[in-house]
């Protein structure tokens, strides 16, 4: 199986472990990732705040490149990139006037063929749980996962058409393959304020706390995410929360890292040591006492 790959800026930096773990897991599953050649930033999360046309044109360039590379299916692990790409695709498809302007902006007609854009959860859906099951080496019985979808994976539903917009379950279903317990909790799609992580730290710190607290109260000992911004907020902001006191660390892992562990890949291979809040070695498989 061969799939186009749009890493997006974060996966080259703050979210490099997302990139590392994704590549490792794909390798283990025998899926070839073809990186879009010379891809550029999708514009999230600033372009759409200043120019609608720019916000559509920037992703459009990457769709163009993908088309030129003959890719019909690409995965964008970063939820923000995914969102910008699908929205851009949707808007040019439904607004001929806009399409013309965009093609003027990128100085080329857009590829005619349909390019299917997948977020990381859809990627694993596409690969199929049975394949995961087959490749599974370690049972993560020790983990109680709160699957965190964030905003941009499911919204806007009429465009993504992905999962239930209020009570999503697909990531849970995929993570179930690890043998871990999936907790039912309240803030699966609550926003962490990602866009403001630099401009308004106090806001995101507060929002992150809410989310982490609910996850813990719901019995989770780890949070699974599929978005770099969600991750850097939930993970990094715990540094402040520690200072505020009364905070209890809650490791935040990319879904690819959790799956990687289940596939028996090493913590290094998965970049687990790059987090601020570490997942304790023993946690993974240790039998749980507070198992509901």
């Amino acid at each position: 199986m061969k799939i186009g790959y749009f890493p997006g800026c974060s996966l080259g930096g703050t979210a490099k472990e997302f990139d590392i773990s994704l590549r490792a897991v794909m390798k283990a599953l025998g899926v070839e990732l073809v990186e879009i050649d010379d891809w550029s930033c999708c514009g999230a999360s600033s372009a759409h705040a200043s120019s609608h046309l720019l916000a559509v044109s920037l992703p459009a360039r990457n769709l163009l490149l993908a088309g030129q590379q003959g890719l019909t299916e690409i995965v964008a692990p970063c939820a923000a990139c995914y969102s910008r790409l699908v929205i851009a695709q949707h808007e040019v498809a439904n607004d001929a006037g806009l399409k013309a302007k965009v093609e003027r902006a990128i100085e080329s007609p857009l590829p005619a063929g349909e390019i299917r854009i997948l977020n990381v959860v859809q990627l694993f859906e596409r690969i199929g749980p049975e394949k995961l099951q087959a490749a599974k080496r370690v049972d993560l019985a020790g983990l109680s996962i709160a699957a965190y979808y964030g905003c941009l994976l499911v919204r806007p539903h009429e465009i993504t058409g992905f999962d239930d917009v209020e009570q999503p379950v697909i990531m849970d279903a995929i993570l179930a393959a690890t043998g871990a317990r999936l907790v039912d909790w309240n803030f699966k799609t609550e926003c962490c304020g990602g866009a403001h992580s630099i401009s308004h730290k106090p806001i995101v710190t507060k929002l992150s706390k809410k989310i982490l607290d609910d996850a813990r109260q719901s019995g989770a000992n780890v949070v699974a995410v599929a978005c770099p911004m969600c991750h850097s907020n939930l993970d990094m902001r715990q540094v402040e929360l520690r200072k505020e006191g009364g905070h209890q660390d809650l490791p935040v892992l990319y879904l690819t890292e959790l799956l990687g562990l289940a596939l028996g890949l090493g913590r290094k291979e998965l970049g687990l040591d790059l987090h601020f809040v570490r997942l304790p070695e023993q946690a993974q498989t240790a039998p749980q006492e507070n198992r509901a």
């Binding site: 239930d164 917009v165 009570q167 309240n186 109260q217």
Partner: protein, 665 residues
């Protein structure tokens, strides 16, 4: 030929875009037209008099009125004609308003069109024949479909006027939703107390035949002469024998089926009477849960029954009734707060948990909780742990006024019953807090606004203007996230229980029944009245009338009023022994009919009969079709199908239509 043409300005309505004077002038030139007049309001008395006088003085043989749609005033003008001795069917309408002046802007073009329309009508009317109304007998017997408060009211009104009524109810008991209510607004009197006597009256009424646990299967015939087939669903209990002693119900070992009447808040046995005051007070076996039907064992009910009234082998039975008028009172259902399959218009509220939180309930469930006959005997207890909720949030417009997840319309009664719920709660839990989230308060109705104010001013219910965005459980409570749009402040309430005022929507089988009855329905599945203002209880199918919430959301007084209105419509029909029907029916030309009976194949009313033509000696000459004018509804499908055009629809003959087409500008 002497034809008169009368052009109406309809005040400005036609006059603004059609040059009526010019039309009158042009039409005066049409062959056969001897009188062409334009006038401000043709439907007014002076307007009608112009026509009447012309008929007498000029000896008109045909009249064309160019005015509003025939659906508005055709009858008016035809009456005017017959008043002055001209057969009403020699009058034709040219629709200059709905089909011309109101839909076009360019005056010359509209005027040209108007002239065409009149010319066409003139050519048609020249070929109209004098028609005499058809008289058919009336069966003075009413069918009422639905045994809720509306059906009960309608049945009693008709029966008390001295006519027989067949009342069909699909549930094991009559009473409908009203029987589930605790108290009723705005008087707070107990629902059961005012309803039960009516239910009993129905049961004991000598002229009401109650068919409970039954459904309408087929409707044939037409106004005054319906033949209705009713399915009597297998109750597994022989009603005639059962005394309603209830022993079987007590002894039934299977007691775990969720009670429909208690909205799933309590359990009932496999053999059950929906509620203590049920009418008829005869149990029914739920074959899906009954051990006997599932495993063939048990049969305790049969053993304990002293009257041998249990019949496991009972099958659905079909009865047919001769009916003159049908009153449809099939009511409503509540928008389900749990998630529905994608094909349904109901999307459910994921942000409110799709009904997975036990203490987030709907209005009818609260009615049961508050009802003295309910599962907690009237004490307010929340379903999850039977604790008394100290903080209750009521949310209005769930599924109503929400085109994204439900329906665009306002369910109309939620503002009132929510105020009632909040009041009942405060009356029972004095130290409790009640919050109501609303968008607008629609309390139009006698003592309604006063009622809502009472909830706020006397009972201290806190009203918050805004829709709730999210409900989620936290530490045994439910966090309700809202915004007070008046204060412009976000607000979070940690409630013990949340009550959703869900939309009133059409019954799940409403469309299926509509097609059985031949009743039109709107985009929401509510039944469509003929005229929203002037004929609110009639439908386009003559002899069928609407009562209650099957037409649109209604409260009890409205449903009852509408029921009495429908009843009186039926009584008007029963007032005469014969019924006059439009004579626009099909007629056979026996000379040319070759008896292929294609007409019979296409007739939806079995109005075509086989007629044998014999010579004097009685030898069969040929067999031809013949029309039963009582059954013929005048659709004319036979006419179009007949290869030799030996059957014609009076009033719409080929000759008339050709003339109309030929008159095209």
């Amino acid at each position: 030929m002497k034809i008169g043409v009368y052009i109406c300005y309809c005040g400005e309505n036609i006059g603004r875009t059609v040059d009526c004077a010019a039309v009158a002038k042009a039409c005066a030139e049409l062959p056969g037209v001897v009188d062409s007049v334009d006038y401000k309001y043709m439907c007014s008395d002076p307007g009608q008099n112009i026509i009447k006088n012309a008929i007498r003085e000029k000896g008109l043989q045909g009249v064309v009125v160019a005015s509003c749609s025939p659906h508005m005033h055709e009858k008016t003008f035809r009456r005017a004609c017959s008043d002055s001795g001209l057969n009403p069917f020699l009058c034709e309408i040219a629709n200059l308003r709905e089909h011309c002046s109101w839909v076009h802007e360019d005056v010359p073009a509209a005027t040209r069109k108007a002239i065409d329309l009149v010319r066409m009508a003139v050519e048609k009317v020249k070929r109209n024949g004098e028609l005499e109304p058809i008289r058919v007998p009336v069966t003075k017997r009413a069918l009422v479909v639905g045994g809720g408060i509306a059906g009960i009211q309608a049945a009693l009104d008709v029966a008390n006027a001295g006519f027989e009524v067949v009342l069909v109810e699909k549930e094991p008991s009559i009473g409908g939703h009203m029987s589930q209510l605790s108290e009723t607004f705005p008087t707070l009197d107990c629902s059961q107390c005012i309803l039960t006597p009516r239910m009993v009256e129905v049961y004991q009424h000598p002229r009401i035949k109650l068919l409970s646990y039954s459904e309408v299967e087929k409707v044939e015939g037409f106004i005054g002469n319906f033949k209705v087939t009713i399915r009597r669903k297998a109750r597994s209990v022989i009603e005639e024998r059962c005394t309603g002693c209830g022993l079987c119900v007590q002894k039934c070992p299977t007691k775990k089926a969720p009670s429909e009447f208690e909205q799933g808040l309590a359990k009932r046995p496999a053999i059950y009477v929906p509620f203590p005051q049920a009418v008829p007070n005869k149990p029914v076996i739920d074959r899906n849960v009954c051990t006997h039907f599932r495993t063939g064992k048990c049969g305790i009910c049969k053993k304990v029954c002293g009257r041998d009234a249990i019949d496991f082998e009972q099958q659905d039975q079909f009865v047919t009734e001769d009916i003159g008028a049908i009153i449809v009172a099939t009511g409503y259902q509540l928008y389900s707060i749990s998630k529905k399959p994608d094909d349904s218009a109901i999307k459910g509220y994921g942000e409110y948990g799709y009904g997975k939180y036990p203490d987030v309930i709907d209005g009818l469930q609260f009615e049961r909780i508050a009802s003295a006959s309910g599962p907690s005997s009237g004490e307010i207890r929340r379903p999850s742990d039977q604790k008394e909720p100290k903080k209750v949030v009521f949310i209005q417009c769930v599924g109503s006024r929400d085109e994204a997840k439900g329906f665009t319309y306002c369910s109309k009664i939620c503002c009132m019953y929510t105020a009632k719920h909040a009041m009942l709660y405060k009356h029972k839990v004095h130290d409790g807090e009640a919050y109501v989230f609303y968008m607008d308060i629609r309390a139009g109705g006698k003592m309604y606004e006063e009622f809502v104010r009472r909830a706020i001013e006397e009972d201290g219910v806190k009203y918050i203007r805004g829709r709730v965005s999210r409900i989620y459980p936290s530490g045994g409570k439910y966090i309700v996230k809202g915004e007070d749009t008046l204060a412009g402040e976000p607000i979070e309430i940690d409630a013990d229980m949340v009550v959703l005022a869900t939309a009133m929507i059409a019954q799940p089988n409403a469309q299926k029944l509509a097609q059985v009855l031949g009743v039109p329905y709107d985009g929401y599945g509510f039944y469509q009245e003929v005229h929203p203002k002037l004929r609110p209880v009639e439908v386009s199918t003559a002899g069928i009338f609407l009562a209650g919430a099957c037409q649109s959301p209604k409260d009890i007084p409205e449903a009852v009023a509408m029921a009495s209105a429908a009843a009186s419509k039926a009584l008007v029909l029963f007032g005469s022994d014969q019924l006059e029907r439009e004579p626009t029916v099909a007629k056979v030309n026996e000379a040319t009919c070759i008896g292929c009976f294609y007409c019979q194949k296409v007739c939806a009313y079995n109005a075509i009969e086989v007629k044998e033509i014999r010579d004097r000696k009685g030898n069969l000459v040929k067999t031809v079709a013949s029309v039963n004018p009582g059954l013929c509804q005048g659709c004319g499908t036979c006419n179009a199908t007949c290869p030799s055009k030996s059957i014609e629809l009076l009033g719409y003959t080929d000759e008339q239509i050709f003339a109309e087409i030929t008159a095209l500008g």
